[in-house]
Symmetry: C2
Subunit: 304 residues, 2 copies
């Protein structure tokens, strides 16, 4: 049976412009993308904060996916806002504006029944907040964590403390080189793993994912798509599919991890095909399994 | 039994600087890297031109690998020279100087016994010269071709004529987008394939390779290396391993093509580990098969 996943991260209103269109104040945020993606595999519990501008209509997507929102705090003020733009290469977001709003004073306080969580995902927020969430979880089986250049340069000591308590770190290649202090990705990955995480997952956008652990490296391509509309949330959709499969399989061997990487890549590929959460929210299990099969065809080769 | 491969391209003296060292006037060129790489799989015949500064010592590497150099013309003047530099990302060469020298007036004239070649690789040279080589080959079974942005922008009409006679095109992702006129790689690949090549192989440097054909896409990662010293020749080493395996297997089905992509990636990974041809020239078949096995471990996953 499937164990439940606890995620802490942001719920946000995003304004996004890509060469293919734009969307204003649409629901987004790391906890949102992660939880909708993971919900196809496992029960999910969210810890986050929203403002008084967060309506029942906004809440409906969580309900529809059976996501536990008892840890979603409603505070006075406006919800976190992010405004960004993508160029034609779609690999890098250019942040135009960030408004922390209710996030500025947020301190996570976990509902009692969240504290037994076995699978924990610490979305990309202040590493001190990530640590405070961990403090409240009794005996997590797997802790995964995301972070970004902003925390690597601004809160390195706090981040290192958090990393010492983390099993899996999920970051992009630029962040791996920055945190590991090496231009060569394999050497940088070794240095990052020496900070605590047993497993390092390096996201490379349209080029896919590399997973480093003690004694193996696994490479998965991104699914080649004819239409990529909006890369927002791809990393969190990936993490959601990845953690979702881990929690659903209740196994931590190498082949489960590899399969989880592919399920994560499947979810990211659906996410980027449409704006905001549209690509994920209407999916079916059959479509997910279908694309998993396409990933097998995409990567398979035989020895003679 | 293995069929022989005909390659036309450059034999050059390269001066290369990377963050890890430099080398001056070392043997290089597309035909050189290709033929040494392919020689581990199949008999290779070279068509190229060198100058009077090309010594017996330079010729010895071809001899050592049983490469047929009866199509290697010695002209008065200096051998083609290329000078380039790589930054820390190692993905892109910055050309500092190119001296065509004897290449300026080169017209390929194939020795009689070259004209029955079944497998032909047209290295990255003027598309008109590529066509002149093809004119002299009686009934090629497979024609593969490389090109670059310089010919795409400067000799597009000649290039399109050559592409109409080619089965397999091997170019990088930037060139695919440029030639296909689309930012989206899948759409660009469709457009390029409509110009003639049944198979398009897109090289993505440290991110590996995508192969597009009628009804399937294959993605292979680059081998993650702790030490990359000199990317010069990686693309031609790839093409050599790829064509070498095709010629050795004498089969053109999808699984042979996929295996050939992996052998190409294996050869490129050995090439970049050392300066000039050092990484390739001392290899053994056992080492090549060993790294092929590592590629399987790197990419393999099972469905549940």
């Amino acid at each position: 049976m499937s164990s439940s996943i606890l995620v802490v991260g942001s719920v946000a209103f995003d304004s996004v412009k890509t060469p293919f269109g734009e969307a204003e104040d649409v629901l987004g945020g790391s906890a949102t993308y992660f939880s909708v993606s993971a919900s196809f595999f496992s029960k999910v519990r969210v810890v986050a904060v929203v403002g008084s501008d967060f309506s029942d209509d906004h809440a409906s997507i969580f309900k529809r996916h059976n996501i536990d929102t008892s840890g979603l705090v409603r505070a006075d003020g406006r919800t976190f806002r992010w405004k960004g733009e993508y160029g034609f290469d779609l690999n890098e977001a250019h942040t135009l504006d960030t408004q922390l709003n209710v996030f500025e004073t947020f301190r996570p306080d976990l509902p009692e029944d969240y504290r037994d969580a076995e699978y924990v995902f610490l979305g990309n927020i202040d590493p001190q907040l990530q640590a405070e969430v961990l403090d409240q979880v009794r005996q997590p089986r797997v802790v995964a964590c995301d972070t970004m250049n902003f925390w690597i340069s601004g809160k390195l000591e706090a981040l290192k403390k958090t990393l010492g308590r983390v099993d899996i770190l999920v970051i992009n290649d630029g962040e791996t080189r920055m945190l590991g202090g090496e231009a060569n990705l394999v050497q940088a990955a070794n240095n990052v793993r020496a900070m605590g995480p047993r497993v390092l997952i390096v996201k490379r956008g349209e080029y896919g994912v590399l997973m480093f652990n003690e004694d193996s490296v696994f490479a998965a391509p991104a699914f080649p798509l004819e239409e990529v509309f909006d890369p927002t949330g791809a990393g969190d959709s990936f993490a959601g599919g990845f953690m979702g499969h881990l929690a659903a399989s209740d196994s931590l061997d190498d082949s489960t991890f590899r399969r989880a990487i592919v399920y994560g890549s499947v979810m990211a590929s659906f996410d980027v095909e449409e704006f905001s959460l549209k690509g994920l929210s209407k999916l079916t299990k059959t479509e997910i399994e279908g694309r998993f099969g396409q990933f097998q065809k995409l990567t398979h080769f035989d020895a003679l």
